[in-house]
Structure formats: C-alpha cells, structure tokens
C-alpha cells in the first residue's frame, strides 16, 4: 500500500510542480520544455522501479546474515 502510494506520488508530484510552474516557460520555444518534462518523468519512474529492486536485494542481504 505504502509502495504504491509512493509510486503514484513520484509520478504525480512532477506533474503538479509543472502545473504550478510558469505556463509561459513550458510553452516557450515551441513547447520544447514539455518534452523535457515528459523525459524527466520517464527517468524518475524508471529510477523508482530500480530503487524498489535495490530494496529487494537489501532485504535478501539482511536475510542472509540472519
């Protein structure tokens, strides 16, 4: 539950931040910064998944020591 909540948060927070950011900036130069925003979201999403995998490995390392 906590994990899925965090996942949703990771994806939504940048969108909310951008909604607050200056509309003029994201629309400037042919809206190129909205593409940058999409790329940032994509990167963060993959990072979040890798971070969860990392936690899985950590859990196994801890179990191994016990």
């Amino acid at each position: 539950m906590k994990k899925s909540f965090l996942l949703i948060l990771t994806l939504i927070i940048p969108i909310l931040l951008m909604a607050q950011a200056s509309q003029d900036f994201l629309r400037s130069t042919g809206k190129i910064y909205s593409v940058v925003a999409a790329l940032v979201i994509m990167f963060l999403g993959i990072v979040f998944y890798v971070w969860r995998l990392d936690k899985k490995v950590k859990q196994m390392e801890d179990d191994w020591d016990d």
């Binding site: 994806l11 042919g30 999409a38 995998l53 196994m60």
Partner: protein
C-alpha cells in the same frame, strides 16, 4: 556485460541526443486574422517558426490556395523580421459557401512553409474583379535534410513520439516476452520461467504507467487538458488497471508454486483483454479519437510518421526494449536467488 545491454544504452543515448537536437522544418505558427470574406483585400500577418523571411527576402512569395489547383499570390509582402511578415492578398470569389484556404510561404532558404486551413473565407458575392492563378506546385517543396516535420499545435512536442509512443511499443514487446515465459511455466512448471515472466511483465507495467504519465503531459500542452475521454486514453488506462491487478495478485500470494500458476494464468487473461482494448476498439468505425492513426489507418504509416522521425523512433523502441530487458534480467536473478534460498531452508 552482454552486447545487447550496451546496445540498448547506446541507442537510448542516440535517441535523447538526436531527438532533442535535430531541428524542425520551417513552419507557419500563426496567422491573423483567421477569417475573411471573399472579394476583398486581405492584410495578413504571418508568424513563422524556424523561418528565414529576412535572409530569404529576395525569393519570398506567399500563396493562398482557394481550391485544389487555384490560388492567389500575395501582391505585397512586408518583412518585419526573420519570423514575421505581413502579406496583402486580393481574395477573389469562391465557389462554395466558404473555403478553408491553405497558406504557402516559399523562399530559397526555407523552401515551402505551409499552414493547412489557415484562413476561413466566407462567400461574399459571386462576381469578382480579382483573378485566380494556378498555384506553382513545381516551385513548392519541403526543405531537404535531416529535419523533423513541423505541425501546428504540436510544434516541438512532436519529439514526444520518441518517448511516449516508444514506451507503449516497448511495453507491448516486453509483455509478449512475459507472456511467452508464462506459457513456458504452465508447460514445464519450471520456476525460472515464472521469475522471467513476472520480471518482464513488471517492467512492462512500469513502462505502461509512464506511457500514461508522459501522454498526460503531452495532452496538457497540445489538447489543453491532462485527460480527455479519448478512447485510447481510457482503454489504455483500463488495460493498465488490469495489469496493476496482476502485480497485486502476485504480492498477495505467498506460496511460490501457487503464485506462479495463478499469475501465469492471469497474465494470459490480461494480455487477451489488452488486445481488443488497445488494438480493436480504437480502430472501430465511428470511433473518434484525438490520437493520430485511428479509424482504420495505422499511425506508423501515412503522413503522421515521416522518415526522419522513424530514424529516431525505431531506435527508441529497440533501445527501451533492451533497457527494459536488462532491468527484467536483474529482477529475474534476484527472484532466482530468493527461490534458491527458500529451497535451502
């Protein structure tokens, strides 16, 4: 390090660099006014994008196309700067009640920049002193070179094709690998296939959720809203919910063999449900969608994808697939270790 991991990373690096640095073709961003009456003189202010109106002043010409072959040439053009001109047209009579005229601006540097349906001309009288000319189509041509096409409204966001669209294609490829391994599990009951199947399905689900998120941003800056009732959005959301249920199902069963069997069977159902949701319903007759390529014609053919876009789009799909495969193999190895450990206990 396997060659395909490096290939995936290199392809994605190429996609990010080429996807952001290749310029767009010259285009027309805005005209004003956007409507006029026939048999009148029209003073049109034309705003270009990536254009060279000032530098190409000597060869500058502007045309308004009134029917399939006829049009009217601008009698005078005042150049304000590289991206702004004012053109005067003597618009003659038109045959129908109204005509949506396409605007062409041509010069030696940019070649032809055009705006479809730039101006709506409403009929105002039948007789005309103004003459129509044949549009010189042999002189009009697209600027050559490695440039992405310019589309009004889309502008630079056409580059999202390499991220948003490629994510969905890579997701689908990863789901097929996951499905194959699910089949293999049901056939052989070898737990390694369950590890592989779930790993490929999980990274595909991540790609799908990111496809929804990136699409939402794209929609905000082109369609003007985060979410619409567009059939592709809602059907994609439903198929993602079906797959999120797959992840929840796996998390809620502790017994390894039971979880493997249940999730393999469920993934067959989820994949079978996704085919009509993503590929059949949006293509049915009478379905209106804002997405390109619906109502029968595929998006990858026709005028929505041109060859320069393809030169970055296909590497993006392959790169994202290989990168997803890399992450999936890491998770497979972790799962295998978990399984081996549980066997030891």
């Amino acid at each position: 390090m396997s060659w395909w991991k490096l290939l995936g990373v290199l392809l994605l690096t190429y996609v990010i660099i080429a996807g952001f640095t290749v310029p767009l073709k010259p285009g027309i961003a805005l005209v004003s006014p956007q409507s006029t009456a026939s048999n009148s003189t029209l003073k049109l202010s034309i705003e270009g994008y990536n254009t060279h109106f000032e530098s190409g002043k000597q060869s500058l010409e502007a045309w308004l196309r009134l029917d399939s072959i006829h049009g009217v040439q601008a009698s005078t053009i005042t150049v304000k700067n590289e991206n702004l001109i004012e053109a005067t047209f003597a618009v003659g009579s038109i045959e129908n009640e109204f005509a949506d005229a396409t605007l062409y601006v041509n010069n030696n540097i940019d070649k032809t920049a055009f705006l479809p349906s730039a101006i709506r001309i409403t009929k105002n009288g039948d007789e005309s002193n103004f003459s129509k000319q044949l549009i010189p189509f042999d002189r009009l041509s697209s600027k050559p070179g490695f440039l992405f096409p310019y589309r009004e409204i889309l502008n630079e966001t056409i580059r999202n094709t390499f991220f948003h669209v490629a994510l969905w294609m890579a997701m689908f490829a990863l789901l097929i690998v996951g499905l194959y391994n699910g089949f293999q599990y049901l056939r052989t009951k070898d737990i390694i296939y369950d590890s592989r199947a779930s790993s490929f399905n999980m990274i595909a689900i991540v790609y799908g959720l990111l496809g929804l998120a990136t699409g939402s941003i794209w929609a905000r800056y082109t369609w003007g809203t985060w979410w619409t009732t567009d059939i592709k959005l809602n059907m994609a959301a439903i198929s993602m919910l079906i797959y999120v249920a797959y992840a929840i199902l796996r998390a809620s069963v502790d017994d390894i063999d039971k979880r493997a069997r249940l999730s393999a069977l469920y993934s067959l159902f989820a994949f079978a449900a996704m085919i009509p949701l993503l590929f059949v319903f949006p293509r049915m007759a009478n379905v209106i969608s804002l997405h390109p390529g619906n109502g029968g014609n595929p998006a990858l053919g026709g005028e929505d994808m041109d060859n320069t876009l393809r030169m970055v789009f296909y590497p993006a799909v392959i790169g994202l697939f290989l990168f997803g495969r890399w992450i999936a193999t890491i998770r497979t190895r972790i799962e295998t270790l978990f399984y081996k450990k549980s066997q030891l206990e």
